[in-house]
């Protein structure tokens, strides 16, 4: 059979490249995931009509279009000095629940879950959705497909278009809900709730009842004691669409809580010359290099970051699961990177419960879905993307054109933590120049837990992503290369 080698292009290209540097004893000194950064967003945005930003930014990433769409829409609300009607906010949040449902399902069953369901030691070729089907059976897989599609369908009904919504406008949304659509969404949400509970049970049976997995989750290479960050409501419960940004410390106490528009007072970005990446950190703590602990300003976002940074979930079933996770893993905060997978499923359950509340809300069919905009100015919008806190920041001129735009995406917020997790996983498998089995798997598990996404090209070919790990000796000479197709 003819095999054609084609690299995934643009930003994804460097995604799978990991460089590991050894010291003179042959132990890991440093390691990082190489991620080229997309350039020129600011220049690209300049002079554009501000109301086009929700459509434009939703193209940045094939995975988080909904998150970018609403971070942009919320930034425009602020920039045009308009507060959307209550129904518009609820419609946006309901759409957001649909996005979380399909995104979290995709990650657990297709991407992160196979490491557990099929097993971390299984060959790479088996650790995918097909391997999951082999283990759980065709019926489960059919349910996975069905409920992922329900999440997509909910976003399509509310967003006006599948995958890339077009509904968000400054001051509201362009489309309300009909009675038929309400009925359809209600039925889908009820089914998704049952499936979310099923998935948590599956996680229990396969992961939590297996001591080896629990030991792996709690093991040192997968532990990181950073600060945690996420949006919370007024009761400090997790919220994806709105709220204040809360940061908690290594003991679980609140360090700070601030409005999204204050982000530049709290978050700074460090540029390291050896990497393309910017590493955000907490200004109040400061930059100490890529290290964890109380003195280092590095923080984590995403499912585990959010659960750690909050006091609970705002819905009853998810709240119960939240407590169970912290009880099982030794209290708050949980610093085990692999617990991201569990946290993600608790959020999936929350999204189905919250969607039920919203679709049953009497306001949801109101036709008052947009308020008139005021004069343009500066605006900042913050949402929780599936993979963490996402910030959009625009300056508009008096004609409503973009003068300046800035973004901090979720994976950038996690950049420091991801780099450290990769390094720690590498330390666990490389000792005195000897590389033990499972190097690639174990490193991949470390960064996959974060469900990283770097804004991307969307082409299909070849689809999968080759991962290459290069190990350099203390003289920076290439020592060994590992790769999997």
């Amino acid at each position: 059979m003819k095999t054609i080698t084609i690299d995934p292009i643009t930003r994804l290209e460097g995604h799978g490249k990991i460089n590991i540097f050894l010291n003179e004893h042959g132990d890991v000194e440093n390691a990082y995931l190489q991620i080229p950064e997309l350039r020129g967003f600011e220049k690209f945005s300049e002079g554009r009509r501000a109301e086009d930003m929700p459509q434009i930014t939703s193209r940045i990433c094939g995975v988080c279009p909904v998150a970018h769409h609403f971070a942009a829409t919320k930034a425009l609300d602020a920039a045009f000095h308009v507060d959307p009607p209550v129904t518009a906010k609820k419609l946006r949040e309901l759409l957001y629940c649909g996005y979380l449902i399909y995104d979290h399902i995709l990650h657990f069953y297709f991407l992160g879950g196979p490491d557990f369901v099929v097993g971390p030691e299984a060959p790479a070729a088996k650790r995918n959705i097909l391997g999951v089907i082999e283990k759980t059976g065709v019926d489960v897989a059919k349910d996975v497909i069905k409920h992922r599609a329900y999440g997509q369908r909910i976003t399509a009904i509310l967003g006006g278009k599948a995958t890339h919504p077009v509904c968000g406008l400054p001051g509201g949304v362009s489309k309300g809900l009909s009675k038929d659509e309400v009925k359809e969404i209600k039925d889908m949400v009820a089914s998704c709730n049952i499936f979310a509970k099923f998935t948590l049970n599956l996680f229990d049976d396969i992961v939590l009842k297996n001591k080896a997995y629990v030991d792996l989750i709690r093991s040192d290479p997968y532990t990181l004691k950073t600060y945690n960050m996420g949006l919370v409501d007024k009761h400090n419960k997790v919220n994806f669409y709105d709220g204040l940004i809360r940061v908690t410390d290594q003991e679980g106490s609140q360090l700070e809580k601030f409005e999204g528009k204050e982000y530049t007072n709290h978050i700074a970005e460090r540029v390291e010359e050896w990497s393309y990446m910017k590493y955000p950190y907490l200004k109040s703590i400061g930059w100490q290099g890529l290290t964890d602990g109380k003195k280092s300003g590095i923080y984590r976002v995403g499912p585990l970051g959010r659960l750690n940074a909050s006091d609970g979930m705002a819905t009853p079933q998810a709240e119960k699961e939240y407590k169970r996770m912290f009880d099982t893993l030794g209290g708050k905060p949980v610093n085990s990177t692999l617990a991201f997978h569990w946290a993600r499923l608790i959020e999936l359950l929350y999204a189905t419960e919250r969607a039920k509340e919203l679709i049953e809300d009497a306001d949801i069919t109101s036709v008052h879905i947009r308020n008139p905009v005021g004069t343009p100015g500066e605006g900042i919008g913050v949402v929780e993307a599936a993979r963490g806190t996402l910030i959009h920041h625009y300056h508009l001129d008096k004609n409503g054109l973009i003068m300046k735009a800035n973004m901090i995406v979720a994976t950038t917020n996690n950049a420091g933590a991801i780099t450290m997790s990769v390094r720690n996983a590498a330390k666990g498998v490389i000792k005195k120049g000897q590389v033990t089995d499972g190097l690639l798997n174990k490193i991949e598990m470390a960064f996959r837990a974060y469900d990283p996404c770097f804004g991307c090209a969307t082409h299909t070919l070849p689809g999968g992503l080759p991962m290459t790990v290069k190990i350099y000796d203390h003289q920076k000479k290439l020592y060994r290369t590992f790769s999997q197709p």
């Binding site: 059979m1 003819k2 095999t3 054609i4 084609i6 690299d7 995934p8 292009i9 643009t10 994804l12 290209e13 995604h15 799978g16 997309l38 020129g40 690209f44 434009i56 193209r59 940045i60 094939g62 995975v63 995709l106 297709f110 991407l111 790479a124 070729a125 088996k126 650790r127 995918n128 959705i129 097909l130 089907i133 065709v138 897989a141 497909i145 599609a149 997509q152 599948a162 995958t163 890339h164 991949e444 960064f447 469900d451 990283p452 996404c453 770097f454 991307c456 090209a457 969307t458 082409h459 299909t460 070919l461 070849p462 689809g463 999968g464 992503l465 080759p466 991962m467 999997q484 197709p485």
Partner: protein, 152 residues
């Protein structure tokens, strides 16, 4: 044969969006009720949803090859691409999505998937315009798709 011509790419990442430019050029030249023309800026599972129900799929997409200059146009079959595991950070490949659908016993899957690939260099910069080399490949890609449709 019920056919979909699907241009794939990111419209704001310069040459990555070449598949969408090819579709723009194709639209006025195709008038066949059996042929659907669509664009997508998304990956495996969503693409699967879009091609379900068609017998033949013609995908147009940017590709990067070690031994190619930007602006070459090549015809592939999906089977030319060997399967890799799901190491893509956030989506599955179309091949994988199709394998999954087959395993689940889905009917209505396309019997023929052809890829028209336009080679590009990586771009890390936002922009809506194609580089000159890649732009000059668009007519060739259009001709290849029209040729492909003759057999439909």
């Amino acid at each position: 044969m019920k056919t979909i011509v699907l241009g794939v790419g990111n419209p704001i990442l310069q040459d990555d969006g070449v598949g969408l430019h090819v579709i723009d050029a194709l639209r006025p030249r195709i008038d066949n009720p059996m042929v659907t023309i669509e664009t997508a800026s998304t990956g495996g599972m969503n693409l699967l949803d879009m091609i379900r129900g068609y017998e033949k799929v013609i995908l147009i997409d940017a590709v990067k090859q070690h031994d190619s200059e930007p602006g070459e146009v090549k015809r592939f079959l999906l089977s030319d691409f060997h399967m890799v595991h799901s190491s893509n950070p956030h989506d599955v490949s179309l091949s994988e999505a199709l394998q999954l659908a087959e395993q689940l016993g889905e009917k209505h899957l396309p019997s023929k998937i052809i890829l028209i690939g336009i080679t590009v260099n990586s771009t890390y910069e936002f922009g809506e315009h194609l580089s000159s080399k890649v732009a000059s490949a668009v007519p060739t890609a259009v001709a290849l798709v029209l040729e492909e449709l003759k057999n439909t």
